[in-house]
Each structure stands twice: as structure tokens, then as C-alpha cells.
């Protein structure tokens, strides 16, 4: 596609990257077919191709208004368009650049600014989030107005399981603890650690690590996201030097972010090399487990019906590989047929809070296809999807790793 990016942007790293991405796009429209928002709305401006055009206008010097901002906000960043695109257009990277540019030029209404600030300053910090999570449970009835979606999203409090000691383990892997997951679903990593310890692997979660940065990245605060990345790299580095084999991501949303650290910090002389190493070590939980001998776990499922929702990040982030279905089948579960697995459930990070109408419509559609096969349980591989689906599903929604624990599986 022809481009004429204005000179003051063209020679910046963002400008160069945007130009490269835009030029790969041939405007064929294949991306519109798998875009959840275009499929619902039928408006070119709510399709990847339309958004690419909206961003292109801004890069070419047109002043955007709230309308462009709205259409960019409505994008889930599920990246289904990227896996569909035959030309290899890296849409999500362009969207990040575009959102940043637009947010610099278009001031948001006050209530949006407040909500976004809160998301960035509370949700991304484990302790603050835990505090407000507890508070939220006490003051649940007071969540009204723009905060109402939070009430619905609030999962029940769960009792934390103990981590295994794994003192005799020969091998070490790092696990990202993250921000929301340890509070809202504290046992996902605990279950993972217990299974790994059975396999002779010690899973460590360095205390100083935290939010992966995806939250800030999607709210157009890329420098803040880079800081989160640096913090995690610092926390993990001693273990990596000690020979940790992998960085295991139990939430694919975070995984999609960590595999991009190398790209995010490519222009930071101090961190570029370390970040690239971290990204290369980052792997989805199912990908790591698929390489282990799981036969010792035995038949856990006894033919129980499971509907699996593969998160968009696990389907579309180029370096993450999804082996969940294979592992569950091997463990004796029966996977039900689920239509349109490529469509987002509407969670998409903070999307379900910022765009509740669209998010809820996507969730209803997703739950309808997940429940069509009458499953005993719905499983997924990302905390965001898990909480979002759980808040409206009639059946239990779990992280799939829980099904590999005999106590839970029974």
C-alpha cells in the first residue's frame, strides 16, 4: 500500500516501523473475515483494514478526533487478523503505535481517564489489586455507574493451595506470577508447580516480578509497559544465569507480552540483549508440558466432557504454541466440538471493563458455542478469559492445568 508518512514521524523508530507494516498491507480484506468486531458490526472502520486506514491517516498528518479513537478502542487486539493475513501485516504493533499517537492528540472524557488510570495503577500491581479486591468484596453493592462492570467481573475468593517444596528437583523453570492471577486465581500457578514437581522440575516465582506490562501497553502507555518488562527481566535474570530452562507462562495474555520483550526493548542498549534472551525462553505452559512424559499422570478424565476455549493470545501470538487439547485428551478427557474457536470471548485484557457492551455480546456468543456440546467443565488458558467467561457461564470455568491434578479431576 502506498504511504506518505509526515517527515517528523517518518524517521522515528515508530514511524519507520509503521511504514514497514503499512507497506506490507495489500488492502485485500481477508482480515475482515476473522475480526470479531467487524463480524458483529459490519462497519469497515471496525475492521482491521479500516483501522489500518484510520491509523494511516494520522501518520499522514490528519488530525484524529474521538471517532478514530473509538474505533481503535473497539479493537480487541485479539490478533486474529494477523493469523489470517497472507501478507504478514503485524497489525498489533501498528495498533499500539496508532493508539499512542491518537491518545496524544485526543483528550478522553474525564470518566474514561479515571477508569484507565485506575486500571493502570491498581490492577497492574498485585498488592494494590489484592487490597481493592478484598475491599471490593466488602463494598460490592457500591459498585455502580462506570464501575458496575467490575462487580460482575469479580470472581469468588478462593483458598490458596500450598506450593510443593520440590527440594530434590534437578531442573528449574521460572513462572510469571503476574498481577491479577495470583489474587483472583491463586491456585493456577500452585497447581502448575505441583505437577512440575512430580516431573522433577522446580518452578520458581521470583517475588520482585510482577505485571507483564500488557495492561499499560494496551492502554497506550508503552514506556510504562517497558518499565514493567525491565523489572521482570531484573527479577528473572539471576535465575536465568543459574540455568533456568524456561520462563513458563500460565496466562497466555501475559505470554504474548513476554515474547515481545525483545521487540519492546530493542532500542534500549542496556536491556536489548537480555530482553531478547527472555523472549526466547518464554513459553506457554502447555508447550513446556507437552515435551514432558505425562504418562505417569494416568487417566484423570475418565471420559469427562470438556469444552476448551483457546485464548486469542495462544492462537495468534507467533511464538506461543497451544498443546492444551492434546494434553487433556492424553489425560483421558473428551473434548467437545466448539464452533468458531478463532473468535474472541470479549475479555481481551481491560476490554471487558472498557467496552462492556461489545464484550458481553462476544461472551454470549462464545458461551453459546462452548456450551453447545454440553460439557461438564469449560477450560481455558488465560486468566482474563477465565474470569470473563466465569461471570456468565452456567458451568464451572477453570484453568486447564487444574484438570491434571487428581484431587481436582476427581
Amino acid at each position: 500500500m502506498q504511504t506518505s508518512i509526515i517527515p517528523q514521524l517518518r524517521d522515528t523508530p515508530d514511524g519507520e516501523e509503521a511504514d514497514r507494516i503499512l507497506r506490507a498491507c495489500t488492502h485485500c480484506g481477508f482480515c475482515t473475515a476473522t475480526c470479531p468486531t467487524y463480524q458483529l458490526l459490519g462497519d469497515e472502520r471496525d475492521s482491521p483494514r479500516g483501522r489500518i486506514y484510520l491509523i494511516k491517516q494520522v501518520l499522514e498528518g490528519e488530525k484524529p478526533t474521538q471517532k478514530t479513537q473509538t474505533h481503535l478502542d473497539r479493537c480487541l487486539t485479539c490478533r486474529a487478523c494477523e493469523t489470517t493475513c497472507p501478507s504478514g501485516v503485524e497489525y498489533a504493533k501498528l495498533a499500539d503505535i496508532g493508539r499512542d499517537l491518537v491518545d496524544q492528540q485526543v483528550e478522553r472524557p474525564r470518566h474514561e481517564r479515571v477508569l484507565r488510570w485506575l486500571l493502570r495503577h491498581i490492577v497492574a500491581y498485585r498488592n494494590r489489586f489484592a487490597f481493592f479486591f478484598a475491599l471490593g468484596h466488602i463494598f460490592k453493592p457500591l459498585l455502580v455507574g462506570p464501575l458496575a462492570p467490575l462487580k460482575q467481573k469479580m470472581p469468588p475468593r478462593r483458598k490458596a493451595l500450598a506450593w510443593p517444596k520440590a527440594e530434590n528437583a534437578q531442573r528449574t523453570m521460572i513462572v510469571l506470577d503476574g498481577c491479577v492471577q495470583p489474587v483472583a486465581a491463586p491456585n493456577t500457578n500452585a497447581h502448575a508447580a505441583r505437577i512440575f514437581s512430580q516431573l522433577g522440575v522446580r518452578l520458581v516465582a521470583p517475588k520482585a516480578s510482577g505485571c507483564c506490562g500488557a495492561l499499560s501497553q494496551h492502554l497506550a502507555h508503552r514506556e510504562e509497559a517497558n518499565d514493567f518488562a525491565r523489572r521482570n527481566i531484573d527479577a528473572w535474570w539471576p535465575y536465568i544465569e543459574d540455568g533456568a530452562e524456561a520462563i513458563v507462562l500460565t496466562a497466555s495474555g501475559c505470554g504474548a507480552s513476554v515474547v515481545e520483550y525483545g521487540h519492546m526493548l530493542r532500542n534500549d542498549p542496556e536491556y536489548a540483549e537480555k530482553a531478547a534472551r527472555v523472549s526466547a525462553l518464554a513459553r506457554d505452559l502447555s508447550d513446556v508440558l507437552a515435551e514432558e512424559d505425562l504418562s505417569q499422570l494416568g487417566d484423570l478424565g475418565h471420559g469427562r466432557q470438556v469444552a476448551y476455549h483457546p485464548p486469542c493470545t495462544l492462537q495468534n501470538a507467533p511464538q506461543l504454541h497451544d498443546n492444551v487439547a492434546e494434553i487433556l485428551t492424553q489425560a483421558g478427557y473428551q473434548l467437545t466440538h466448539v464452533r468458531d474457536p478463532h473468535l474472541c470471548c470479549g475479555s481481551a485484557g481491560t476490554y471487558s471493563i472498557l467496552q462492556p457492551t461489545m464484550a458481553n455480546e462476544l461472551r454470549s456468543n462464545k458461551l453459546a458455542s462452548l456450551q453447545a456440546g454440553d460439557p461438564d467443565v469449560i477450560v481455558t488458558a488465560n486468566i482474563g478469559c477465565q474470569l470473563h467467561l466465569e461471570s456468565a457461564a452456567g458451568v464451572p470455568v477453570r484453568h486447564w492445568i487444574e484438570l491434571l491434578e487428581p484431587a481436582v479431576a476427581a
Binding site: R23, G42, R45, T65, T68
Partner: protein
């Protein structure tokens, strides 16, 4: 004379300067505000379809949600003599949905419902914005599918397929769109609803359904389509044959047809196309081959066994260097994946590409391909060939860079030369993508003035004001005269009877 009248009307519409503010007011008076877009920021994403080399900012975009709203938009435009360009998914490759700076772009993309599936009669009633592939997906559990499968089938919409009479890989055996629909509902230029065709196989009177199919939005706005559904064949298998010489591959195509085999699809990719698509799909195409043929046969197990053996024998006789047969449906899908994604995959080896659509008799395949290779050297531009070999429907993709000044113009000239090469070999300028704006000048080469005059008479019968998609598909004689002035062949001026400006 009809032609003069319609030509005058068309020229007037093309040159008209409607009062934008007034028109917005009139539209918004009868339509919800959010379906009428008029700010530049909102309009820009609609400035082109799948052929992004041609761009025009529409004056207004209307995004109707109901047929009544389509009718209102048409009525307002008709009353105010404003041109209307209808658009489906915007994936067309000939600029058929290129907007007009002085016209309304009418998007049918919100019409996404499959209204009825009638298994007893094997029909589906669908809205025009339904994706081609979505129809087959919806009836797959019933053992049925919709046969025409343009390569953009994942995204292109059925309304656009009807407007362009789209083909696809399987049209060699199962026909084009026109052979696979039975009834259309259109909104006329005056804003009235009209049903064309019927659920019966044949209807008395002129076959208006066939006329409407492929009319490129010049005769009416399609708002509902009844398509035929076919039972899925018992089995389908693909032969992938590699050749070290384009001529051998071209001759093998003619030989397969000559042997009495009717493949469900017979496609060819040349080396640049093989290399580019292999990057994206990893179908394990032999990247050192000069060309590959993909030949699919379908039917009962016995038929398929027999034909696969026949195809293998023919391609081996014609000098194939490697022959593979798909072992299962998964492998068959992979063999095809490369072909289906071939066009946009060019985005990986070139910033822009320009897709041609000429069709030639099969026996001329090798000569035309070699001719295109020579033209490529002459113009100094790379060409990749991916096409429906069985139909002789070529798709040369000319690779260029729109950011380099003059490259697009040279590319267009190169494209024109390819069209003319096809005509010299007894072919046509378009097989399935439509004429649009892209090949409108070559229409002057293909059709003499008398025939164009008859085309205009048809247009006159449906749209006397010339408001529907003016400037596309059928050129005015005036335009041909101007085009002819630039292309003097052997010292003879085409259309010598016409006065030149």
C-alpha cells in the same frame, strides 16, 4: 438514439457537483444519523476496495441496516440525481466498488444474515453481506456446500460475487456464480424492490437473472440472494505436479482436458508465486520448480481412483518432474492453502501488486505465459502467475512499488499490454474479477462500437439517469475514442468514425 442519451446522462452524472450539505440533510431526515457518514475521517477507510491503486474519497457513505433504509437512500439519491456505488466486502480486484467524489457509497456489509436453509430443495436464502465461505460453513454439517469459491472466499460477500459473477477454483466443473443462484432480490435505482428469477429451474421470458449476474452494480442493488447448495462429494483428491518448464506445464493442462477428465479444479502457479506462497503456508511446494499444477478430482471413490490414475499418467507423459497425491483432506487443504492465499502473499515479496484477469483458450496457455515473460523483461517489472489453468483464466500479478513515482503508470501500461496479448490469442480481458475501472479501456479493444451501443441500451432500460456505478464496466464511446487516440495500432485508429476531442 439510446446511446447518445445514456452517454450524455453518464457524462452529466460523472461531472455533476451535488450539494453535499443539502444531500446529507435530506438523507439524515429519513435515516438514522449514524448510518450516514460524511466527515473525511470516517470516509477515508472507504476510499478503495481490494484494488488499492485506485482511490477516491466518497462524498458520503451510507451504511444501511435494513432493506427499507437501502430503499430510502436510493430514493433520495434518485430524486437528487446523485450517483450511487454499491459495495459488499470491498475485496474486489478491478475497482468495481471505487467510490465517487460526487456520489454516495452504499455499503451492504451490515447484511450478514443467512435467512433460510432449505435442505429439501438444497437452497439457502442469504443477505448480500454474507461471506461466501460462511454459506458453506453453515451447511457443512448437513453434508452440503456452495460451489463457487473465489480465492477471497473467506472474506468476499455473496452480493459482490453476484455483481462480479465470481468464479473460483471449482468453477471449471461447477460453474460460475450465475450457474449457482436461482433468485435475486434487488432494489432498483428508483428505490423499489424487485424479484428476479425464481425458485423454479427455468422461468419464461428473458433470463434477467443471468443479465443481473456480473452487471457490476450498473443495473440494481442486490439485497437478497437464493443460492443453490450441492452435496459434498464422497471424496476429493488433489494431484500436485511439478514441471521444470512453463511450456510443459501449460501443455499438460490442455492434455488433461483433452483426455476427457473434468477436474474439480485445475490451477497453476509459476516459480515466483510458488516461492512467495510457500513462505506463508509452508505447503511444502517444490520451490525450485518452474511451475506446479494442482489438479483436483472429486466424486465417488471409484471415480476418484480412476481419475487420479489418469491425471498421474497424463502429467508424467507431459514431463512432470515430481507428482504428489494428497493422502487425506488435511493434506488436500494444505495443497490448496497456498493457492488461495497466493495473491495477498505477494505483499511479502513486493509492496504492491497489480492483478490481471485475462482469459484465453487453453491451448494458448504456454504461448501467452511466455509472451508475458517477454513483456516482463521489456517493462523491467517482475510478474508472478497464479491462475485457473483449466479455464484458461490467467492472473498475472505485476509486482510494483506505489511509493516510486511512475511505477503505477508503467504497471498499468504493462497490464494493458497483457490484456491485448490475451485478445490476440482469441481470449477476453476478464474472466471473473470484472471490468470495474481497471480494465474499462480494454473493453474498447474487445467490443466494437455497435456492441457497446447495445450494452448502453440495456443500461438505459434499468437506469435511464445513469446513476448506478457510472464510469465502470461499460465505457462510453467517447471514452473509447480518447483511449483509441493513445493506442494507435499499425497506424490504424480504432473507431475512426468518432470525432476526437
Amino acid at each position: 438514439m439510446a446511446d447518445t442519451a445514456i452517454a450524455d446522462a453518464a457524462e452529466q452524472v460523472l461531472a455533476s457537483r451535488p450539494d453535499k450539505a443539502q444531500l446529507i440533510e435530506k438523507l439524515v431526515a429519513k435515516l438514522p444519523e449514524h448510518v450516514v457518514l460524511h466527515a473525511e475521517e470516517d470516509l477515508r477507510p472507504f476510499e478503495c476496495d481490494g484494488l488499492s491503486a485506485y482511490r477516491k474519497l466518497p462524498m458520503i457513505v451510507v451504511l444501511p441496516e435494513t432493506i427499507e433504509q437501502v430503499q430510502i437512500a436510493m430514493q433520495v439519491c434518485y430524486a437528487n440525481d446523485v450517483a450511487v456505488v454499491a459495495r459488499g466486502a470491498g475485496t474486489g480486484l478491478s475497482g468495481g466498488a471505487l467510490p465517487m467524489e460526487n456520489g454516495v457509497l452504499l455499503s451492504l456489509a451490515k447484511f450478514k444474515k443467512i435467512l433460510d436453509i432449505d435442505t429439501a430443495n438444497r437452497r439457502a436464502t442469504v443477505q448480500p453481506g454474507v461471506r461466501n465461505l460462511a454459506i458453506s460453513e453453515a451447511v457443512s454439517d448437513l453434508g452440503l456446500y456452495y460451489a463457487p469459491d473465489p480465492s477471497s472466499q473467506i472474506a468476499c460477500s455473496i452480493g459482490g460475487n453476484v455483481a462480479e459473477n465470481s468464479g473460483g477454483v471449482h468453477c471449471l466443473k461447477y460453474g460460475l456464480t450465475t450457474h449457482n443462484i436461482v433468485e435475486l432480490e434487488i432494489v432498483t435505482v428508483e428505490g423499489e424492490r424487485m424479484t428476479i428469477g425464481s425458485e423454479a429451474l427455468d422461468t419464461p421470458g428473458y433470463d434477467l437473472l443471468a443479465l443481473m449476474t456480473g452487471s457490476e452494480g450498473l443495473l440494481g442493488v442486490i439485497v437478497q440472494v437464493v443460492v443453490k447448495l450441492l452435496p459434498k462429494p464422497e471424496r476429493a483428491q488433489v494431484v500436485l505436479a511439478a514441471f521444470d518448464d512453463v511450456r510443459k506445464a501449460g501443455d499438460a493442462v490442455a492434455a488433461i482436458i483433452q483426455a476427457g477428465i473434468v477436474p474439480a479444479g485445475l490451477e497453476m502457479l509459476d516459480n515466483p508465486a510458488i516461492v512467495a506462497t510457500e513462505e506463508f503456508v509452508h505447503a511444502d511446494y517444490p520451490t525450485d520448480a518452474a511451475a506446479i499444477l494442482l489438479c483436483e478430482v472429486d466424486g465417488t471413490h471409484a471415480e476418484v481412483d480412476e481419475h487420479i490414475a489418469d491425471v498421474r499418467e497424463v502429467v508424467e507423459r507431459e514431463g512432470a518432474t515430481e507428482v504428489r497425491v494428497s493422502r487425506d483432506d488435511a493434506e488436500r487443504a494444505i495443497f490448496w492453502a497456498g493457492r488461495k492465499a497466493a495473491f495477498p502473499a505477494m505483499g511479502r515479496i513486493s509492496p504492491d501488486y497489480y492483478c490481471m484477469d485475462g482469459t484465453i483458450p487453453r491451448k494458448a496457455l504456454a504461448d501467452v505465459l511466455i509472451g508475458i515473460g517477454e513483456l516482463s523483461k521489456k517493462y523491467g517489472q517482475r510478474v508472478a502467475n497464479v491462475f485457473h489453468a483449466g479455464d484458461g483464466n490467467l492472473h498475472p500479478l505485476i509486482l510494483y512499488d506505489a511509493n516510486i513515482e511512475g511505477e503505477l503508470e508503467r504497471t498499468e501500461e504493462f497490464g494493458g499490454a497483457i490484456c491485448e496479448l490475451c485478445l490476440e490469442h482469441g481470449g477476453t480481458i476478464t474472466g471473473e474479477h470484472g471490468v470495474g475501472v481497471e480494465k474499462i479501456d480494454q473493453m474498447c479493444v474487445q467490443f466494437p462500437p455497435d456492441e457497446l451501443t447495445q450494452f448502453h441500451a440495456v443500461k438505459q432500460a434499468f437506469d435511464s439517469k445513469g446513476l448506478l456505478n457510472p464510469g465502470k464496466a461499460v465505457p462510453t464511446l467517447h471514452r473509447c475514442a480518447e483511449f483509441g487516440a493513445m493506442h494507435v495500432h499499425n497506424g490504424e485508429l480504432p473507431f475512426p468514425e468518432l470525432e476526437r476531442l
